[in-house]
């Protein structure tokens, strides 16, 4: 297990370094269209071949990884913070406050987000730079993705609230935010981390789906989501295995995070 964990760390390190240094070792600009060679297979010039427009897939994977690895965790962090705020306060206070917060959470979960997102997109200005579109997309994901986690966290805090060590702390005179910060939240760490890591691949996939609706990262900027869109047509799946690289990378990175996380959880 230790060796696997080391491998996970190594992989995460390599992926992070590769993407951060994309400008140094990417063989081409991510937007450069080699129009004489669209959809070409892997070669010396293009290690992972080219996409539909002749853009170097390897370069796009490097730049896309940078964006997704940076933005998806940020969005996951935002949604986990919101979930902690709503779920934590509701679970800690209990009573009418918990009922009201969970009622609001249920309402939030039942909203037709797809249509609301479409409405949001329709309201956004059209002349938006690709970098802004990335920020807007992941901000929306972070703001809208807290509700399911909030329910889990509320249940967790409720359990801790009634635990013996919290009762003892309370009997010792510890109350309010201090009790929450010192005794409750630290014990929620495994749940919080799990919610955080789960949210990352979910947001990456959601970003890909939003792209189909016109809400994702806009061209020509790559992201794992836009790279995964190459696999939309399953008729093309079996012929060009190198198109699976973004998916394989996503699975490896998320798995590595989970492996690393499991150690952290044990430590916690």
């Amino acid at each position: 297990m230790r060796r696997i964990r080391q491998l996970a760390w190594l992989l995460l390190g390599v992926v992070a370094l590769s993407s951060l240094g994309a400008g140094l070792w990417a063989p081409a600009d991510y937007a450069m269209q080699f129009r004489e060679a669209p959809n070409s297979p892997p070669s010396h010039e293009h290690l992972l071949g080219t996409d539909d427009l002749g853009r170097d897939r390897f370069s796009r994977v490097l730049y896309g990884t940078r964006i997704s690895l940076l933005m998806a965790p940020l969005a996951a962090l935002l949604s986990t913070l919101l979930a902690t705020l709503v779920g934590g306060v509701a679970g800690y206070l209990g009573g009418w406050c918990e009922r009201a917060a969970m009622g609001a959470t249920d309402l939030f979960l039942s909203m037709p987000w797809l249509f609301l997102l479409l409405a949001v997109r329709a309201m956004l200005p059209l002349n938006v730079a690709p970098t802004t579109s990335v920020a807007v997309t992941f901000l929306l994901l972070g703001v809208l993705g807290w509700a399911a986690s909030a329910r889990v966290l509320c249940a967790g805090v409720r359990g801790l609230r009634n635990s013996e060590f919290v009762l003892q702390a309370r009997a010792s005179g510890l109350h309010g935010w201090r009790l929450l910060a010192v005794h409750v939240l630290p014990n929620l760490k495994p749940v919080l981390l799990a919610q955080f890591w789960i949210a990352i691949p979910v947001f990456i996939i959601t970003e890909a789906n939003l792209g189909i609706l016109g809400l994702g990262v806009s061209e020509p900027l790559p992201s794992w989501g836009s790279l995964l869109r190459e696999m939309e047509s399953f008729a093309s799946f079996g012929f060009e295995a190198w198109k699976l690289v973004p998916l394989v990378l996503l699975v490896l990175v998320v798995s590595s995070f989970q492996i690393v996380l499991s150690r952290d959880e044990v430590a916690a």
Binding site: A31, Q33, R35, P38, D52, L53, G54, L118, R121, A122, L126, N127, V128, A129, P130, G211, I212, L213, G214, S218, E219, P220, S233, F234, A235, S236, F239
Partner: protein, 541 residues
């Protein structure tokens, strides 16, 4: 000697079978939704149109290969000099699939129903030429005259879409005069058409057509599944393929795919010139500048769009009519040459200047705009991204925005809150009258500046005049001259920047004999009567 004679006879029999196809069998292909109606006069969707084509008997049929009208239920027809009436001589001894006889009364009944405003028939709308009723006079059982309130240009070919319905059959929608009749329908699953036992047409050897026993139209909205079903041999043809699927299929089975050349459909982009559009005045000034539009047009590499986005299965577009439309295509027009340097020169004449890698207008505004297109349409998304790079070379910063179709339509037709758009034009009819709603400045679909009270530019006024003149004229030569000029103005002024004409791509199984795909709809089964299925030892391909 005797053996040799038997051999010769057998060879001749095989040759005859090969020449005329084999009778029997069931042709299978997919439509992409349930038919909205079985009433051939109320057709509004592709699936219903397919059923109308396969089951409906028409007075005349536009031959999809020659694009000329040919006799069907009418043996001959005459259009009056004033263009207001048409007289048909009908075939005798024709029967519907249910055994009821066909007569001129049925034509009168069909026209009465077709023109009934309550039916809201799109086919009927093509015949509306002015206020007043359409009169049908039955001269005899085999002769009928239809009179319209005003002249109708291209009148005869409009009857290609009019399936004659029975005036006295108990099941009017299903009593068919075409090669098949509707035998069964299971929603979300299939429509089964069986051979019309009373179909009138015979082949050269005197055998009754169609050769096929039945046609099964599976209902399958998913194109991936359609492709896989074809590859497994579960369906016999795909009427329309996109270039990506075409290439994949061609790589495996090159003999099964057909590229019939440029079709009628075009892809184009345009700028929003509407005066009430919520866009900055300086941008509206760019978009209203003919030279700006010409420069943008010249900076787009159409050959690359055709080759990269469509894998070579598209042609650079010149104007609104593709070469697929034999009569109305203006052969003098050429697609603008890719010339970024020329584009910059034109822009400099207009006061634009290149500062570093950014193009600035006369007032110092960086030239930057967005192009909207519909999300999920890969070819359009790719074209927009290529246009983005092409225009980047002359310093124009383009933002590609993909929107869901409802939002896109709202911006284009409702709020006018957009700058540029990239969409396609699906042409189903050859006649330019079908494009009146596009070219008249007062029309809703005059996309770049719709619903003008009076033409805002001289060239739009000229287009209005020419379109009305061609619609009022009954002389094909006059009409052609008018519409040729409309096409020339469109190319000179570039209100639409036409990008490519998409090729008509289809796939037909090796089991189907006599298939000869064409560019006009329905591309693969336009000659359904003479299609047949070969017996194959291995049905998979």
């Amino acid at each position: 000697m005797r053996r040799r004679a038997i051999g010769v006879v057998l060879s001749l029999m095989f040759a005859l079978v090969a020449a005329f196809g084999q009778s029997g069998g069931e042709l299978k292909f997919f439509v992409h939704s349930d038919p909205k109606t079985f009433d051939p006069l109320a057709v509004v969707d592709d699936a219903s149109e397919t059923i109308r084509y396969l089951t409906g008997g028409v007075l005349l049929r536009v031959n999809r290969r020659t694009q000329q009208a040919e006799p069907e239920l009418a043996t001959a027809w005459t259009i009056a000099r004033d263009g207001r009436s048409i007289t048909f001589n009908l075939r005798d001894h024709i029967y519907y699939s249910d055994g009821s006889p066909f007569s001129a009364e049925d034509v009168a009944y069909t026209m009465q129903r077709l023109m009934d405003p309550a039916l809201h028939s799109p086919t009927g709308d093509s015949f509306r030429s002015g206020s007043g009723a359409v009169h049908t006079k039955v001269d005899s059982a085999t002769r009928v005259t239809i009179t319209f309130p005003e002249p109708v240009a291209g009148l005869d070919k409009l009857f290609d879409q009019v399936a004659i319905v029975s005036s006295h059959s108990n099941n009017k929608e299903r009593a068919a005069l075409g090669p098949f009749y509707i035998a069964d329908y299971k929603p979300d699953s299939y429509v089964l058409l069986r051979r019309n036992p009373n179909y009138w047409r015979r082949d050269a050897a005197g055998r009754q057509l169609p050769y096929l026993d039945s046609v099964r139209l599976g209902i399958q909205p998913n194109r991936d599944i359609e492709m896989m079903s074809f590859r497994r041999g579960e369906i016999d043809l795909i009427n329309w393929l996109d270039s990506e699927y075409f290439e994949r299929l061609a790589a495996q089975s090159p003999g099964l795919v057909h590229d019939a050349g440029p079709g009628l459909d075009s892809e184009q982009m345009w700028f929003n010139q509407a005066p009430n559009a919520p866009i900055p005045a300086y941008k509206r000034a760019w978009f209203r500048s003919t030279n700006f539009r010409r420069a943008v047009s010249a900076a787009i590499n159409r050959a690359d769009l055709s080759r990269v986005v469509y894998g070579g299965h598209a042609q650079p577009a010149a104007g609104p009519v593709s070469p697929a439309n034999h009569f109305w295509f203006n052969a003098r027009l050429r697609a603008p040459a890719y010339d970024p340097s020329g584009a910059l020169r034109i822009l400099q004449q207009e006061g634009f200047r290149l500062q570093g890698t950014t193009l600035l207008d006369r007032e110092g505004h960086a030239v930057e705009f967005s192009i909207i297109t519909n999300a999920g349409n890969k070819p359009r998304e790719r074209m927009a991204t290529m246009v983005q790079q092409d225009l980047g070379k002359i310093g124009i910063n383009v933002h590609v925005v993909t929107l869901d179709f409802a939002s896109l339509l709202d911006r284009i037709t409702g709020s006018y809150n957009y700058e540029g758009a990239l969409l396609g034009m699906a042409n189903t009819d050859l006649d330019p009258n079908e494009q009146m709603n596009l070219w008249l400045s007062s029309a809703d679909n005059h996309q770049w500046n719709p619903r003008q009270k009076s033409p805002e530019t001289a060239w739009e006024a000229e287009i209005d005049r020419l379109m009305k003149e061609q619609a009022a004229s009954l002389e094909p030569v006059t009409r052609k001259a008018c519409f040729d000029r409309v096409q020339e103005i469109a190319v000179e002024q570039q209100p639409f920047i036409f990008l490519v004409y998409k090729n008509a791509l289809s796939a037909v199984s090796a089991t189907v004999a006599n298939a000869s795909p064409v560019v006009l709809r329905p591309q693969t089964y336009w000659n359904i009567e003479t299609l047949s299925l070969r017996v194959q030892t291995a049905s998979k391909h």
